[in-house]
């Protein structure tokens, strides 16, 4: 073998294919779950839509309109088919296209997640690395204890304390994070402040703990010991020998943190009335807004599966063992 082969390395291609297939299978099961779950919601959509004034004829008409008279399988296929083209139908509650309802909320969720991630990741990952390097030092212990504390706290507690101290007492930030039209960027910053702070506080504990574990695993390897025996300085060992190898783990952790920030923040959205996807889904479940619930569920799963895929792919790309084929070319 001379030199690395030019063509796209087979492991990456194989990975994309195999993970793509398994992701698709997961997604397929999710569509089944989501569809079955929402199709079983009590009181069918038609009567929910018409409320008290429902006459049998009107109900029948609406059912026909929504395709509710079709067999379940057919409805499922139609739904998946349309969804694949980005058409999630109309919101049963407001009659607007679901995509129109969803997109601004998705934007809000992404905004909140990315701002929180930008603040959270450097802090949490840096903290995790530092805690691993100075394992069992007072720094590590304090960090360990505080993160354990925050992991133990229910999210709404953090939210309420922040509202009380920063909004009610100090009046620094608005307590409700509803998007403002009048006021521009600084208003946005104020609106995002409290949910972001809560997410940073709650999320950092988890991310930091994962990072610390990942770094410790690398620091315990033979090649780090070897570098030490070679007389390489501590600093260089950490920066050049340990960190690159922990990189794939850190990348995965970061991406999964972002996924968590998009997807798993319902309680925070409720506490601050933040108009994100989670709140939309909670509200839509309450209104029996089937089409929106279906779309939300699918979107959540898609984000989650996609993020996991991305995490694994990045981990693969930074790891030469995975990226470059073994012997020969």
């Amino acid at each position: 073998m001379t030199g690395t082969p030019r063509r796209r390395p087979a492991p990456v291609r194989d990975f994309i294919v195999s993970r793509g297939i398994s992701g698709a299978v997961s997604l397929f099961i999710v569509t089944l779950l989501v569809f079955a779950g929402t199709a079983l919601l009590p009181g069918d959509a038609a009567s929910a839509l018409l409320g008290q004034n429902a006459t049998p004829e009107a109900l029948e008409a609406i059912r026909r309109n929504l395709g509710l008279d079709q067999p379940l399988i057919w409805r499922y296929l139609a739904w998946v088919g349309h969804a694949a083209q980005g058409d999630f139908g109309q919101s049963l509650a407001s009659g607007r296209p679901v995509a129109e309802v969803l997109l601004p909320r998705l934007g809000n969720s992404l905004l909140l997640a990315s701002v929180a991630a930008v603040l959270l990741l450097p802090f949490a990952i840096g903290g995790g690395i530092a805690a691993a390097i100075w394992q069992d030092s007072w720094f590590d212990r304090v960090l360990g204890f505080t993160s354990m504390l925050f992991l133990a706290m229910p999210a709404f507690l953090v939210g309420y304390i922040l509202i009380y101290v920063l909004a009610v007492r100090l009046g620094w930030f608005p307590s409700m994070s509803v998007a403002p039209l009048f006021g521009g960027a600084s208003a946005w910053a104020k609106i995002l402040a409290l949910p972001v702070i809560s997410l940073v506080i709650i999320g950092q504990a988890h991310t930091m703990k994962l990072t610390r574990t990942a770094i410790l695993a690398v620091l315990a390897t033979d090649y780090v010991l070897m570098a030490e025996v070679k007389g390489i300085s501590r600093r260089r060992i950490i920066l050049r020998h340990a960190l690159p190898n922990a990189l794939s783990a850190i990348l995965s952790i970061s991406i999964l943190t972002v996924a968590y920030l998009i997807v798993d923040v319902v309680v925070i959205e409720i506490v601050f009335s933040y108009p994100g996807l989670g709140k939309l889904m909670v509200d839509s479940v309450a209104y029996r807004d089937l089409t929106v619930v279906q779309a939300c569920g699918l979107l959540f799963a898609l984000i989650f599966i996609g993020m996991n895929f991305l995490a694994d792919l990045l981990a693969l790309l930074v790891n030469p063992r995975q990226r470059v084929p073994a012997r020969g070319a």
Binding site: D222, V229, K230, G231, I232, S233, P320
Partner: protein
């Protein structure tokens, strides 16, 4: 001594319990100092201490380590690092784990040159290429561009030696550098080490648990056991006139031989014809024709990866059979384990290489041995108890061990339990896959003795897999030599050792170190 590169005086290291006690030694430039000891004796701990490093949890209680005139444990961290960079190198047991998977080999090998001298990249590539050439690595110019996972174990080990040479050290520490390699590669690495030390005139520490290897390489020897020095001296003196019982036992000419056996019966107990087996459609062993004679010991030898285990497991029904025929006592052997009748499963017992993994840590010895009794023969209660005690006596273990968990037993004891468990089924054939290779030489010998005694007591046939040709020579009735999934030679032991027919068999025999003086020199 003026040209002493390393001296250790009264070194004691504790973790929770003492690991090293009162170690003293001195190594001169140009000599190879051998350290021999069983697993866990403290060899690696000692090697680390030689570069002033203590593993996490370890504590130096007393003693001094002086390397190139500097007392390592008195130095500041930067000074210590400098000494490590300039004066000493270390070759680890597992090269695969000791190379950073993230960087190319060339960069890792020349990292110190870049750090210490600021050598530019182009020059470093040349340096590395020269070293690779010296170490007879393939394509020395481009070898450095590979990642660790792209080269073989033996090549990696040599790359590690190259890395050790880059800083022209006063002392190189080899910590079991050949343990993970097969005999032919081992011989090459041994030759290299000898050549380098002679050529460069540096001092070397060679650590191993294999007396034959150390005896060939080292000028002086130290025997380490349970963290204590048993004996130190010139290799020749030590080999010829050992002072301590332990050393004597190590050195002793192994006298056991195979038990006298009946002539080969016409009807083999197991017969394979054109047998092929493997995983997932790929045949890893092919064209196997082999007869196991009742009451005989058949040794299966061959280098690592040649398919020994695969073949044994195929016979046991654990690997898919792809073709050929197999008979057991004249009747066809059902390929799939699950399809075999219970009695067939009983009559053939398999003993694994690593007793640690073969015993369920959450079952007492009584449960482990008692289960086959209950399962195959339905023996329970008092009858079972009597059988259990008998089996413990058979494998020469105290009856109290019945209530112990495997965790509190030594490796040799565990392997005896595994043997007892196999015997509990009252088998006719025992398949032993390297059952002694994880054990220390003395323990290995006692287990072999046990097997031989058992064979005299009951009608047992043994298929014994090993890579230890010395053992095979003393012990086997027939030998089958495997290479690349085929049996290249199958003959009575005397024939194989006296007049090997195949070139491969000869290479294998030739590369196996023996304790005779001058063996390595003859092969340089």
């Amino acid at each position: 001594m003026e040209n002493t590169v390393l001296s250790i005086e009264g070194l004691c290291i504790d973790a929770r319990a003492p690991i090293l006690q009162d170690i003293s030694l001195a190594v001169r430039a140009g000599e190879i100092f051998g350290v021999i000891g069983e697993s866990g004796a403290g060899k690696s701990t000692l090697a680390m201490a030689m570069v002033g490093l203590l593993r996490a949890g370890c504590r130096r209680v007393a003693g001094k380590v002086t390397l190139s005139g500097q007392s390592l444990f008195d130095l500041s961290q930067p000074q210590l690092e400098q000494v490590r960079r300039r004066k000493v190198s270390y070759v680890a047991q597992s090269a695969a784990a000791a190379f950073n998977p993230f960087y190319r080999l060339g960069d890792q090998v020349t990292e110190l040159a870049a750090l210490e001298l600021g050598t530019p990249a182009a020059e470093r590539r040349k340096m590395a290429a020269d070293l690779f050439r010296e170490l007879q690595l393939p394509n020395p110019e481009t070898f450095g561009a590979r990642y660790p996972h792209q080269v073989s174990g033996g090549q990696l080990q040599r790359a590690m030696i190259a890395m050790a040479l880059i800083n022209n050290p006063d002392l190189i520490i080899f910590d079991e550098p050949t343990t993970a390699l097969d005999v032919t590669t081992q011989l090459e690495v041994m030759r290299l080490i000898r050549k380098i030390v002679t050529a460069r005139g540096c001092g070397a520490i060679y650590i191993s648990h294999d007396l034959a290897v150390v005896a060939q390489l080292a000028d002086r020897l130290m025997v380490l056991r349970h963290g204590k020095v048993i004996e130190t001296g010139a290799t020749r003196t030590l080999m010829e006139t050992p002072q301590q019982d332990y050393t004597r036992a190590l050195v002793a000419n192994k006298t056991t031989t195979s038990p006298a056996v009946q002539a080969r019966t016409a009807q083999p107990i197991i017969a394979l014809r054109d047998f092929a087996a493997g995983y997932g459609g790929v045949s890893l062993v092919q064209d196997i024709s082999l007869d196991l004679s009742a009451g005989h010991i058949t040794c299966l030898v061959g280098e690592s990866g040649s398919g020994k285990t695969t073949l044994a497991r195929a016979i046991a029904g654990l690997v898919d059979v792809h073709g050929g025929t197999a008979t057991f006592q004249g009747k066809p052997l059902v390929p799939r384990l699950e399809d075999r009748p219970r009695d067939a499963r009983r009559r053939m017992q398999y003993i694994h290489q690593l007793p640690d993994l073969a015993l369920n840590p959450r079952q007492t010895v009584r449960e482990a041995i008692g289960r086959p009794l209950a399962f195959f023969a339905g023996v329970t209660g008092a009858a079972a108890e009597a059988r259990l005690r008998q089996l413990m006596r058979d494998v020469e273990l105290p009856e109290e061990f019945l209530d112990r968990y495997p965790g509190s037993l030594s490796g040799g004891q565990k392997q005896r339990i595994c043997i007892a468990r196999a015997l509990a089924a009252d088998p006719e054939v025992l398949i032993c896959d390297e059952v002694t290779s994880a054990l220390d030489p003395l323990v290995e010998e006692s287990v072999i003795q046990l097997l031989l005694r058992l064979m005299q007591q009951r009608p047992l046939t043994l298929l014994f897999i090993t890579h230890n040709l010395g053992l095979t020579r003393r012990f086997a009735h027939e030998v089958a030599v495997m290479q690349a999934g085929r049996i290249v030679e199958f003959a009575p032991a005397e024939t194989i050792f006296a007049a090997p027919r195949e070139a491969y068999t000869r290479t294998l025999l030739d590369a196996t170190p023996v304790m005779e003086r001058g063996w390595l020199e003859a092969r340089l």
